[in-house]
C-alpha cells in the first residue's frame, strides 16, 4: 500500500471533491484527508490517498484526463510520519512518483487549431475514420495528445448525435447509453458490446500502438461524451475508461455515472 499526496489545481470548486473522490475510490484508493483552498492558480485541492501501488499510474492517468483537473502533482508520503494537511508547500512535495517524461504532471488544453481541419475529413469519411484519427494522434505532441484527441472525439460524438439520434424522447442516462451511445459506437467499431458494467470495446484501434501507457482510448471517451452531453438534459455525465487493453485489460471498458 502506498500513501500519496496529490495537489490538484482546478478552476471550479463546486463538485470537485465529490468528482475526484469518486475517481479515487473507483481506482481502488481511499481518501485519508483532504483540504481545499483558493490560491493564485485557482482552486487547490490537496488530498492524501492510500491504495495499491500498482494502481497508481492508472489513477494518475485518470486524474490527468479529468475535465475538472487543470494540473496536478503527486508525491509519495511516509504514512507514519505524514503531517496533517495544511496549505500545500513545495517543501513537502517529495520526488514525483513517476518521471515527468513518462507521466506529464500537467494536462494541456486541447489544440483547437489542429482539430478543426480534421473534423471536415472525419465527417466525409464517417464511419471509416480511425486511420485518419490515428494519424492525427500520432502527429500530436505527447503533452497535447490526450486532451486534443478527446476534444476531437467530443466534436464527432456531438455531430453523430445531432445527425442520427436527436429525434425521440429525452432518455435517462442508462437508456441513453443503451439506445444512443452503444449503437453509435457499434457503428464505428463492430466489436463493441453493452455489458452490465458498461460499454466494452474489444478492438479499440488506439491500443497497442505505443502512443500511450495506460488508458489510451481518449478519442472514444470523447466521442461518448459528445454523444451523451449533446442532448443537454443529462448534465455532464462522467465517462471513465476503467479498463484498457493497453494496461492489460481484456477489453476497453467505459463506465458511466450521472
Amino acid at each position: 500500500m502506498a500513501d500519496i499526496e496529490f495537489r490538484i489545481v482546478s478552476d471550479r470548486r463546486e463538485g470537485l471533491l465529490l468528482e475526484l473522490g469518486r475517481l479515487i475510490i473507483a481506482s481502488g484508493f481511499t481518501l485519508q484527508r483532504q483540504r481545499m483552498a483558493r490560491g493564485n492558480e485557482g482552486v487547490v485541492l490537496t488530498m492524501l490517498v492510500r491504495g495499491p501501488e500498482q494502481n497508481l499510474l492508472h489513477l494518475e492517468d485518470r486524474l490527468g484526463s479529468h475535465p475538472l483537473v487543470q494540473s496536478f502533482e503527486a508525491a509519495a508520503v511516509d504514512g507514519a510520519a505524514s503531517p496533517p494537511l495544511a496549505a500545500p508547500e513545495p517543501a513537502r512535495v517529495r520526488a514525483p512518483v513517476e518521471p515527468v517524461a513518462e507521466a506529464p504532471a500537467a494536462t494541456a488544453a486541447p489544440d483547437l487549431s489542429r482539430v478543426e481541419p480534421l473534423l471536415a475529413s472525419l465527417a466525409r469519411e464517417y464511419p471509416d475514420i480511425f486511420n485518419r484519427v490515428l494519424a492525427f494522434e500520432h502527429a500530436l505532441p505527447q503533452a497535447l495528445r490526450e486532451a486534443t484527441s478527446r476534444y476531437a472525439g467530443t466534436r464527432i460524438g456531438a455531430w453523430i448525435y445531432k445527425r442520427d439520434y436527436a429525434l425521440g424522447a429525452r432518455l435517462s442516462l442508462a437508456d441513453s447509453v443503451k439506445h444512443i451511445a452503444f449503437p453509435a459506437m457499434r457503428h464505428l467499431l463492430r466489436g463493441t458490446e453493452l455489458g452490465d458494467d458498461g460499454l466494452r470495446v474489444r478492438n479499440s484501434p488506439f491500443t497497442g500502438n505505443g502512443l500511450h501507457r495506460n488508458s489510451s482510448c481518449h478519442f472514444l471517451r470523447g466521442c461518448l461524451e459528445g454523444l451523451l452531453n449533446e442532448p443537454g438534459h443529462l448534465g455532464r455525465p462522467r465517462i471513465l475508461e476503467t479498463s484498457c487493453r493497453n494496461s492489460g485489460g481484456d477489453v476497453c471498458l467505459f463506465t458511466f455515472a450521472a
Binding site: 466534436r155 425521440g168 435517462s172 439506445h179
Partner: protein
Amino acid sequence: MHDHSIQCIHDPLLAALSYLVAVLGSYTALQLAIGIPAATSARDRTHAVIAAGAAMGGAIWAMHFIAMLACQMDLQVSYDVALTALSALFGMASCMAGLAIAGSGVFTLSKIGLGGACMGLGVAGMHYTGMAAMRMAATIHYDFGIVCASVVIAVVASAAALWLAFNMRGAAQMFGSALVMGVAVCGMHYVGMFAASFEPTSENAASAIADGVGGAYLGATIFGVTTLLLATVLVTSLLRQQRRALVRI
C-alpha cells in the same frame, strides 16, 4: 362465435389494405411525433403535436372506413356526416393529447402508459363513434366483454408503439413503432367488429340510409386522406434528409 343476424364478411384484400393504411398513417404520425421533444419553442411544439395528432387521427379514421368498406353485408349502409366527422375529430384530439404527453420532458414509463391510454381510447372512441354513424335498416348490439377486450388491445398496443417510437432509435423506432401501431388500430377495429351483431329492423331500407353519405363518397374521402398521408411521408423524409445533411460538425 356470435350468431349474427346479418353476417359481415370481410374482403381480405381491403382488410389487408386497411392494415397498410394504418401502418402508413402511424409511420407518418410517429415520425412527426418524435420531433416533439426536439422542438425549441412552444409554438414549434404545438405545431408538431397538432401535425402528428392529425396524421394519427386521420390514419385511424381512414383505416376504419376502409375496413367498413371491406365489411360486406347483405344490407345497404350509409354514414351520418356529422357523426363521421366527429369520429375523426375525436381520434385526432385523443392522439394529440397522447403524443403531447409521451413527448414531454424526460421519457418515463408512466408517460408512455398515460399517452398510450389516451391514444388507445382515441382509437376506440373513433371506432365506436364511427359505428354509431352507420345508417341502415338494422340495429347494432355489442358484446360488452369483447368491447372491453378491443379497448385493452388498443391501449396496450398504442403504449407499445409509443415506447418504440420515443425510446428506441433507428429502424425499430421508424418501422417497428408503425407496425405495432397498425396492430393497435386494426386489432381494436376487428375485435370491435366481432363484438357487434347487426339485427335487422322493419324500417324501410331506402329511408334508413336517406340522410347519410354512401360508400362512393367515403371512398373518395379515404383516397384524399391516404394521399395526404403519403405526401406528408414524402415531404417529412425529404426535409429530414436535408436537415441531416446540413448538420455542422
